[in-house]
C-alpha cells in the first residue's frame, strides 16, 4: 500500500505544532546540531585525519542526497566542488525563492517548521566552514520572511547561531534577504547577483561557477530549503540509514506538490521512487484521483517547465526484472516511479517535485499559452534566444488562442522553441520556456493544428504572410 513517509513534514501539520523555537525544542529540535558539533576528529585507516565537518560532508555524500530545488544534482558532489583553498570566505545561501509554478513545498517548511530548515542550514554551514550565510526568500513570502526572522532571533538567543555556538567555538550568522518578485532569482547565479544588489542576470559558466566564484566572487554553496532539511536528518540518522529511504540513486524523501484537476490537491511527502506518478495522482492517500466523470488528459510531472506527459503515453525503461537483471520494459506514464532517474528516462523530469494534473476539460492550447505567457513575463532578457524566443512563442500562442491562428502554427512554434534550449542560453530558463512548447505541441499536435485551421476557416481572407513570387527566368 502506498503511503506518505513524513520525515521532513513529520511535525509541521500536527495539531498544536507552531513555528516557534519552544515547540521545535519540545520535539527534539537542534539535537542534530548538537550531535554535529560534537563529532570528534577521527583517524582513517590510511592515517588521514578527518575533522567533524569533513565527516558530515562524507556522510552527506554517502546519503546520496540529490538537490530538491529542481536539477536533482548530488548535494555531496556540489559541496565537494567548493574551493576550500582560495583563502576567501565560503558562503552558503539557502534558496527559498520557490516560484516554479505548481510548487508549494518549501513554503510548508518555511511557514510551519522554520527551525528545522535553520538547523539543517547551520549544520550545512558548519560542515562547509561557512561563517556567514543568507536565506534568499521569495518576495511574495512576506509572512515567511517574518517567521524566519523571528526564528533567527530565537536561535540567536539560544546560541544556536552567533558566536561560539553551543560552546563549540564555531561562529555563524545568517541573514534573510527578500526577493522582489522575479522568477529568475531562483536560478542560483541570478540569485547571487540579486543578493549582491544587482539585476538578477544569471552568470556565465564558465567562469562563474558558484563553488569557485560565487557571492562576492567567493566560493558559494546554494542549497534548496528541502535539501537543507534533509541534511539535518542525514546527521540525525546517519547517511547510510538515510540512503535506505527511497530507492538506489534516488534516496530519502521528497515533498511532492500536486495541483490541478484532482480531488485532493496538496503536498505529500513520500520516499523517492517508492510510489508511482499514477499513485500520487489517483491513490486516496494522495491526490485522490480526478474529479468525478473526468478523464486524465495530461500531467506535468515536475513543475511547469518540465515536459508534459500525455495520458496513456508509454515509455521503454530499463528496470530490474524479477530475476534481478536489467530488462527493457514498457511502462505507462502513470506507472513511472516518481523519482529523478525514471522521469529523466521518460524524457521529462521530476524537477521541483510539482505535479500538475490536467483532465479532459483542459484546453491544451490555452494551457500552453498560459505557461508561455508566464515565461515570457519572467525571462530576464539577458541573452538573445530566451529574451526574444519566450515572447515570440507567447505572442504566437496568444494569437492562436484569440482567433488568429494558422494551421501552420504548430510547426511554427516548435521551430521557434528549437532555437532556444540545449546550451544556447546562459541559464536553464531557455529549457524552462521551450520544453513546454516542444512537448505540448509534439504530444497534442492535432489540437494545435485543428485550432489554427479552424481560425483560418472562419476568417474570410487571411492576408498572405509570404508574397507570391512570379517565376523568374534563370531560377
Amino acid at each position: 500500500m502506498p503511503a506518505e513517509y513524513r520525515l521532513i513534514l513529520k511535525y509541521a501539520d500536527q495539531p498544536g505544532y507552531t513555528p516557534d523555537l519552544e515547540c521545535y525544542l519540545r520535539n527534539g529540535g537542534y539535537a542534530s546540531l548538537k550531535k554535529a558539533l560534537a563529532i570528534q576528529p577521527k583517524t582513517l585507516p590510511d592515517g588521514r585525519q578527518v575533522g567533524g565537518p569533513e565527516q558530515i560532508r562524507d556522510d552527506v555524500k554517502l546519503s546520496g542526497l540529490r538537490g530538491r530545488g529542481g536539477a536533482g544534482f548530488s548535494c555531496g558532489l556540489k559541496w565537494s566542488f567548493v574551493d576550500r583553498k582560495s583563502g576567501k570566505p565560503i558562503y552558503l545561501i539557502c534558496n527559498a525563492d520557490e516560484s516554479e509554478p505548481g510548487t508549494f513545498k518549501d513554503k510548508q517548511i518555511l511557514y510551519k517548521d522554520p527551525h528545522q530548515m535553520l538547523e539543517g542550514m547551520i549544520i550545512a554551514c558548519y560542515a562547509n566552514d561557512v561563517h556567514l550565510a543568507y536565506i534568499y526568500i521569495r518576495g511574495e513570502f512576506v509572512d515567511g520572511a517574518k517567521i524566519l526572522n523571528r526564528a533567527l532571533k530565537e536561535a540567536r538567543e539560544k546560541n544556536f547561531l552567533g558566536k561560539n555556538i553551543l560552546g563549540s567555538g564555531y561562529d555563524l550568522e545568517i541573514h534573510v534577504h527578500r526577493g522582489a518578485g522575479a522568477y529568475i532569482c531562483g536560478e542560483e547565479t541570478g540569485l547571487i547577483e540579486s543578493l549582491e544588489g544587482k539585476r538578477a542576470y544569471p552568470r556565465i559558466k564558465p567562469p562563474y561557477f558558484p563553488a569557485v566564484l560565487g557571492l562576492y566572487m567567493c566560493p558559494t554553496i546554494v542549497n534548496n530549503v528541502e535539501t537543507l532539511c534533509a541534511v539535518k536528518h542525514i546527521v540525525a540518522m546517519g547517511g547510510a540509514e538515510f540512503a535506505r529511504l527511497g530507492t538506489p540513486n534516488n534516496t530519502g524523501t521528497r515533498i511532492v506538490s500536486i495541483s490541478g484537476h484532482v480531488k485532493k490537491p496538496g503536498y505529500y511527502e513520500v520516499e523517492v521512487g517508492k510510489v508511482t506518478l499514477g499513485q500520487l495522482i489517483n491513490d486516496p492517500v494522495f491526490a485522490g484521483g480526478l474529479r468525478d466523470g473526468r478523464k486524465l488528459k495530461a500531467v506535468i510531472p515536475g513543475g511547469s517547465s518540465a515536459k508534459v506527459f500525455k495520458a496513456g503515453e508509454k515509455f521503454k525503461l530499463k528496470r530490474k526484472g524479477p530475476d534481478g537483471k536489467d530488462a527493457e520494459q514498457e511502462v505507462d506514464m502513470l506507472d513511472l516511479p516518481y523519482d529523478f532517474d525514471s522521469l529523466i528516462a521518460a524524457g521529462s523530469m521530476s524537477g521541483s517535485g510539482a505535479i500538475i494534473v490536467m483532465d479532459d476539460s483542459t484546453d491544451i492550447v490555452e494551457a500552453l499559452s498560459n505557461l508561455s505567457e508566464f515565461y515570457a513575463h519572467e525571462s530576464c532578457g539577458q541573452c538573445t534566444p530566451c529574451r526574444e524566443g519566450s515572447l515570440w512563442m507567447s505572442k504566437a500562442l496568444h494569437r492562436l488562442t484569440h482567433g488568429q491562428g494558422r494551421g501552420t502554427d504548430a510547426e511554427y512554434l516548435v521551430r521557434i522553441a528549437d532555437n532556444i534550449p540545449g546550451g544556447r542560453t546562459i541559464c536553464a530558463f531557455g529549457e524552462a520556456c521551450s520544453w513546454p512548447v516542444q512537448s505540448f505541441v509534439a504530444k497534442f499536435k492535432d489540437e494545435f493544428v485543428a485550432r489554427g485551421a479552424a481560425d483560418e476557416q472562419r476568417r474570410p481572407a487571411v492576408p498572405k504572410t509570404e508574397p507570391e513570387l512570379a517565376p523568374q527566368a534563370g531560377h
Partner: protein, 561 residues
Amino acid sequence: MATSPEAKPAASPIDKIKVRVDGKEVEVPKTTPDPLTGKPLPTTMIQACNVARVDVPHYCYHPKLPVAGNCRMCLVEFGIPAVGSDRKPILNPDGTAKISKSPRPAIACATPVSPGMEIYTNTPAVKQMREGVLEFLLINHPLDCPICDQAGECKLQEYSVEFGQSQSRFVEQKVHKPKRVDLGPRIVLDYERCILCTRCIRFTKDVVGDDALGIVNRGSYNTLTAYPGKTFDNNYTLNTVDICPVGALTSKDFRFQMRVWFLKETKSICTSCATGCNVIVGSREEKIYRYEPRENEAVNSSWMCDYGRLNYKWIGREDRLVEVRGPKSAALSWAAALKEISDTFKQISPGSAALIASARQTNEELYLLAKLATKLGAVTDSVPRQGEGDKLLLNTDRNPNSLGARLTGISAEPIGANLPKIAEAIRSGKIKTLLVFGEDVTKVGIGADLLGKLETLIVSDILPNTTTRSAHYLLPGCAHAEKRGTFTNTKGRVQKVMKAVEPPGQARAEWEFLHELIFNTTGQNGYASIEGLFNQMAADIPAFRDLSWAKLGDTGVSIPL
C-alpha cells in the same frame, strides 16, 4: 607524447597550449592579459580563433571589455581529448588523441581553451545556431536601415549577409519602445534598435569608471537607460556610439549628416591634447564629418574623449585665413611673399628677431622653424596650453606636440619662459622682427601695442585673431587634417597625421612654404617631400635617431625619453 592529465604545468603567462580550430592547429598562450587589469586570464576560444584567423561572429564580445556572453552569436561546437576511467588519454588507432565532442555548444567569448581542444566553427549546427540568434535579434528590430545611421557599418546587416533569411517568418507585432531618447548631451538612443548587448554599459562602467548606464524592465521589454535623474555626459560617451554594434546609440553630432559608405577614411591622430589618440578621420568632398578612435595599444587602446572627437569643426570655418597678405593687406602670391620675406631676412642682424611657434605644429615644421631661427639668430619659444585632464586619456597639456617643440629646440625650459623676455625686448626696441606661427601672442603678454612697434611681423595661422590682424605678412596655414607630418606625444610616441581634406584657398602646409623660405634664405636645399624631410630631421635631431617615415607605420614609434 603522452602527458599525465594530472601534471599541472606552472601557470606562467608564456605557457603555450595547442588547440585546433576547424582542423588547423594553432599554438596560443595559456593565459591572456585582462584588457582592463592586465591580470592573466585563461585564453578563450575566440582568442584562439583569432590566432587561427577564423572569424567568429559576435555582438556583445569586445576585446577591450569584460566578457558578458549574452548575445550567443559566438556559439561554437568543441571537443576535448577523451580520457578513460584510468584518467589516461584514449587514443585513436593511428595514435592520435581521441576527441570527445561536447554535446552542448559553448560561447567562444568566455570558454577557456584547454590543451588538445578542438573548436568547430563551421558545422551545420553552428550555422543553424547563428541563424537562430540572428533571427531572434531581428524579429523585434526595426528594419529601418534606409534611415539608420549605422547602415553600412552595422553588425546586424553584416551577419544578415551570411546568416540571414531571405524572408521573415515572424507574423506577430513587434515590441515597440521609445525612439529618439535623449541619453545625454551628445547621445541619442533608439530603444527599438538596441540589441541589449551591454557593450555601452560595460564600457562606461569598467573603462570610464562612470556607472551611468543600465537595463530596466524585463525580457523582450528590456531597455537601456541612464541612471534615473542622471544624464550620460562623461567625456567618453561617444565611444559607446562606436562600440554599439547596431544603430541604437547615435552621435548627435553625426546623425543624419552622411551615409557612412561615402566617407573617405584617413588614418590620423587627434591633436587636441598631448595624448595623441589615434583616429580615423571620416571626410567627403573636402569636408570632415567625424572622428573615430583607431586602436593603438601604446596610446589610446580603442578609445578617445568626446572633447577631442568633436574638436574638428573649426577646420571648416567660413572665416578661415585663405589668402596670402603682404604689407597694407595687399594680396600676394606665395612666390612673391616668400621672396619679400626672405629679402627682409637678409637684412636682419643677429639678436634682433624672435620666433614664437606653436606646440600644435608638427615636428617637421618646428624643425624647419628651428633651422630658420638659427640662421636668423632669433630667440624662440612656444606657448603653453593647459586644461583639466582626466585619468583615462585627456592630458592637462592641450598642446599635441609640446615634446616635439622641446626636442626641436623651439620651446624654452619651461615652455613659455622666453615669452616675457621677447615682450620686453620688443618694448626696448631690441627685437624688430617677429615671426609668429599658429599662436595669438596678444593673449600671452605681447599685446597689439607691442606688435605695433615691430618693423616686421610675419604671421602664419589658420584662423583670424588679433595677432594675424597686426601682421605685415600673413601666411595662411593648414589644419592637421589638411597636411601630413608627425607629432610627438607626451610619452614620446612619434605618430603621423595624414591629409584627409584639401586646404581652402591659398592655405598651404607650413612645412612646404617653410622649406621654400629656408631655401631662399640659406640657399640650402631641403626635401620637398614629407618623407625626405622627416628622415632628414631624424638624422639631425638625436631624439629622433633611428626613425624613418616608413618605420612609423600607422601607429607610430616610441622614442626613449
